[in-house]
Symmetry: C2
Subunit: 317 residues, 2 copies
């Protein structure tokens, strides 16, 4: 009952041309990041579980329109939402995930239910929606997830696709993911990630977010990480697990291991990417190789930090 | 144009009480393993690509009723088939996969099409069936995959579930997967895996087979592996990628790295498991911790070996 605690979150990298939002909207984005951190901190500071903390943090971001997960999620090419999420308990290496779900208000809660109340790790599609419903989770219409901002972004992307200028689309219009990692007083690590994928994605496409080892990984004594970026490269590189493998087998340092993915493996392929990460000592780290990444953390000093670009905003937790 | 070549396959572990099949059926199982190996060898011995070799090997096993993939696949609890497959090119670390597909005759061909003709790595459900159809791949009714043996096994499992003796069900009634790994003359490694999951599985359940890094992994200069066993543990342990990580970061030996998964990580959790593996020198290895595993290989000596239990049957390729 004496170990350090910490929470680190991201709200997606690739962000964000500052002109995309008004100053008030940027302030609200930071306020929602802070609310996410406080939801986790309320758990951790009372001696609660890292698993509960990361779930609580992700739920706040799923419910916010400012992040690409839950309400505010990206739209598929068919103008629908298909959501992915996963969660991992570093204490047991238990994990749960859902992919291409359409009606679960908080996909991260469904991922946790898969972990704790099924024999599966990953359930796909309508069956996952049905599973969540049977578990008593909140079910919504697919349109609940839609915001005007994503509709505008989808329309813009479709115009660019028609005019052959798709590559000029900003990362902010395309990607985004939310995630949280935490360490609790008992030394348990946990990680959680949730996303709507990317705007104009093909129906049925599954990225790294629901893939334990790609977008999410946690193991006590080593590290917990949650990734954001172009998921296909995260899968091909088993990116989240690779950070743990570098630390465990390669005896590499924590931050160097995260940096190796963000600035070497992924950036070398032109892949915008970022991670929220925490090690077994409670060190928090959230590097990214893009213009910005919504992010935040509270370390054992109780100082709350949120940021979307270079500038960091600190306050007491 | 002088390097060694090799092919190694598995047709699922957890097999197989000898009384399950007649001697003639066991002989046919071995004949189909040999046919799978020869399909790959025809590619490799002419200087063809490892990627083509593993696809050819898996197609033969998908088309055989004796393996749990394609025709002969396991049935879900709803008496339907949902198939998973993935393929990885060790030269590029490109990968493709499909999960919970219902109508693609050869899911491994769809996985390859995802890799080569889409921007995705993984496509789920009906969208993957539609994608395969658009790519001109053979589409079948879901009932094409059904065999009397799987219907009998499902009925037996449902009876056991009702009578509370499910844990007594043999692994052979429950699991099974097919996979192939190869090294070509140019030094390229590749891996491919395909499965129907397990009998009586929940609809929507996704195991390790379509998860690159869990059930399938290949990287030139290191290793190519394809796994079989209870997929949930493979995902949680990033099992396929972990073998490469042990070799790469930990500088562990090839066979010791595969053994670590099969006999340590997975067996310690009571998980029946096996791998087909090949290293960059063309060493083939197919360990398993269960009663048996359908398997086979041809190394650079041109000797073809197939087996389902301890006894190995060798002939000239």
């Amino acid at each position: 009952m004496a170990g350090p605690i910490g929470i680190c979150i991201h709200g997606g990298c690739g962000t964000l041309d500052k002109s995309l939002l008004t100053p008030a909207e940027w302030a609200e984005t930071r306020a929602h990041l802070a609310a996410s951190l406080r939801a986790a901190w309320a758990v951790l500071s009372k001696g609660g579980k890292a698993l509960d903390a990361v779930e609580a943090a992700v739920v706040v971001m799923e419910d916010s329109p400012h992040f690409n997960a839950g309400h505010g999620a990206a739209l598929t090419a068919a103008s629908t939402h298909e959501l992915d999420a996963s969660i991992m308990d570093g204490a047991t290496k238990g994990a749960g995930a859902v992919c291409t779900v359409k009606r679960i208000r908080n996909p991260i809660k469904a991922a946790r239910a898969v972990m704790e109340r099924s024999d599966c790790v990953l359930i796909a599609g309508d069956a996952a929606d049905e599973f969540a419903k049977r578990q008593g989770l909140a079910i919504v219409e697919n349109s609940y997830f839609t915001t005007q901002r994503r509709l505008d972004a989808l329309a813009s992307l479709k115009r660019r696709a028609e005019s052959g200028t798709l590559r000029a689309a900003s990362e902010a219009e395309r990607h985004g993911t939310v995630g949280a990692v935490a360490l609790d007083r008992a030394g348990n690590l946990a990680a959680a990630t949730s996303t709507g994928g990317f705007n104009n994605k093909p129906v049925g496409r599954v990225g790294d977010t629901p893939i334990v080892g790609a977008g999410t990984y946690a193991r006590n004594g080593v590290v917990a990480v949650s990734g954001t970026g172009q998921g296909e490269f995260f899968i091909r590189n088993a990116a989240a697990y690779d950070i743990a493998a570098r630390m465990d087998y390669g005896k590499h340092e924590f931050k160097a291991s995260v940096d190796a993915l963000v600035f070497d493996v992924l950036k070398s392929h032109g892949i915008g990417a970022g991670f929220a990460a925490i090690d077994a000592k409670g060190q928090v780290y959230a590097p990214y190789n893009t213009l910005g990444m919504a992010r935040g953390w509270i370390g054992d000093d109780g100082r709350l930090v949120v940021a979307t670009h270079t500038e960091e905003f600190a306050e007491a937790a």
